[in-house]
Symmetry: C2
Subunit: 352 residues, 2 copies
């Protein structure tokens, strides 16, 4: 299969978080059919293929998650038209996964580094269920083994360094239940959220400069739920707050920011928390990358598992063919020209 055919095939294979078995089976079969790969490990729906290059000075990892967010899955109805691959996961990040699989076809002696190819599950779900944890827990990968990790997350073919951390919190507005015919006997929990939602809609957090790059923090209400019947004034309204914070902040500082924002209005109950990933300008492999490939560099605004790796002391960056503006969008697409371009960047960098 060509790179484009492979990407289309992956996008046509549904893999919403928690349902990655089919796509993992497909990828494992593909890898095991390659004569060039001797070392392939599967844990649940996470697969690690290792290419050992004789005499290589450094070990790098290429990482791609297999899952997509739920909602409007295009699945088998994915198609190519006008130079675009259209379908859920095309940009985030099956284009990147296709590049990893194509690179694996080269014989080990062509590789400049020892290279781990990590295809993993459950990146889009809760942090605790991320498929990478099991690799560290079980000793399948060790922090000291990897000099730099590349995540092929959507970056529009430029290098994204650092990564934003995430605080998820349930903000609960409390009221007093009453019959809706006499709302003055109660307190409406949904109405109480109005002021906070107005403040959120007007919120402009100033950019944060870290390592010469500007990170734009943001805070969004992403889910909301309240009320039990059409004729009852609700006593509880709950919104999920998703706060993305810059690499200069700790999780504790980020939590404090959220608490302060809703102080006196809503009860803040923290949920899924993901650390930010720091800037890694001094990394020796990154130095080689910058010498080999001249690419613009930008701050990474999405959370990526550069943050998870940072928790394990592994440095990482993001570089992938997908479009940041397409991730998690309806009718998500990927420009095939960018897919090919990103593939060539990795080819230039990785292969002798």
């Amino acid at each position: 299969m060509t790179l484009e055919e492979l990407a289309l095939d992956l996008v046509r294979t549904p893999s919403v978080t928690g349902s990655e078995e089919e796509i993992a089976d497909k990828i494992e079969r593909l890898i095991r059919s390659l004569k060039s790969v001797k070392d392939c490990l599967r844990l649940s729906n996470t697969i690690v293929a290792r290419v050992s290059s004789p005499g290589a000075p450094y070990t790098i990892a290429l990482c791609g998650h297999l899952d997509t967010v739920p909602g409007d899955e295009v699945g088998e109805r994915a198609f190519v038209e006008g130079g675009r691959l259209v379908g859920t996961g095309s940009s985030d990040m099956k284009g990147g996964v296709a590049i990893m699989l194509k690179l694996l076809e080269f014989p080990p002696e062509r590789f400049r580094f020892n290279t781990l190819f990590i295809f993993y599950e459950s990146e889009e779900g809760p942090y605790a269920q991320n498929g990478l944890h099991q690799l560290f827990d079980g000793g399948a990968i060790k922090s000291e083994d990897i000099d730099l990790a590349f995540f092929l997350e959507p970056t529009d073919c430029v290098l994204h360094v650092g990564c934003m951390g995430i605080v998820n919190a349930s903000v609960r507005f409390h009221g007093v239940r009453a019959h809706s015919a006499r709302p003055w006997h109660g307190e409406n929990a949904i109405h109480k959220a109005g002021e906070a939602l107005v403040r959120l809609s007007r919120l402009k957090i100033p950019p944060v400069n870290v390592g010469g790059l500007e990170f734009q923090e943001s805070m969004s209400a992403t889910m909301a739920q309240g009320g039990i019947a059409p004729n009852i004034v609700p006593d509880l309204f709950e919104i999920n707050i998703n706060y993305r914070f810059a690499p200069s902040k700790s999780i504790d500082e980020a939590k404090r920011y959220v608490e302060d924002f809703f102080k006196g209005e809503g009860e803040v109950v923290f949920g899924n928390l993901q650390p930010s990933g720091s800037i890694v300008n001094s990394n020796p492999v990154l130095k080689i990358f910058r010498e080999t490939v001249s690419l613009p560099e930008l701050p990474k605004h999405a959370y990526t598992d550069v943050g998870l790796f940072a928790e394990h002391g592994i440095e990482g960056v993001n570089l992938g063919p997908g479009h940041t503006s397409q991730a998690h969008k309806k009718n998500e697409y990927l420009e095939l020209e960018d897919l090919r371009r990103c593939y060539r960047i990795y080819e230039d960098f990785l292969l002798n």
Copy 2:
């Protein structure tokens, strides 16, 4: 069983809307065991007992719904303490139903009017599923047969005339979906509702005077739902709006009020609509009632099926032992003193 025991027994019999079979069975058994009742009809979980009084000039109906709203059902754990019956449905409106059953024990010749006792299902659910409709549809009751209906809904033992109409509408705030790491690529549908919720929380509609009584309209967001994942800026946020309008307004006028309120902000999709019930000062049976029993009169703020009867040309009022402030509340209770007082009012009025 005494009146109080009967009320406790009914409150201990769970009957959330849609699950009224057990309580209807119990009531049917009770009625069929009474020698005084010759004419008893059951349709689904709705029961009509007819007492024909020789030579009576008018026919009235006493009406009580059997269902309760969902959430925090106390059911079998209902109890009596300090003169209060505590349990879901005690005020709304099993106390009233107990009064109806006790009155049925009197022999027909004691009754001043021909009297229909209507015990019905699904009052708290959508209007279209209200148990009364089937009685009109199947011809079990005819508009011209009933001169005045009394609904034993909670009124704190005073007469509530008229009834508020209801407009339920789903107000949909539309946005553009995006990854929550870059919310500026989308438009947050939940944030968009902020201004409207603030206006709702500050809304004070002036009272409406109808037939010498002041009706207090109100509009509440009673349910809310939006978003599909913690890391996606939502493109849809939906709130259920419950607007209670005075008897002077038509349903069309009420719908226009809701549309105007959210104009330019949310798409209004109408749901369950319930007509208001007019003031019936000239009714001949009401005249007799006022001569027999001297009671304060107030506007009815809840919707009751006085509105449904009005659609069929039957005039109605509300008078029941329950407390308006207790309807649909957690730990709902009923003062037993009020239960006995309301029973005596009906006894004085109905019996020779």
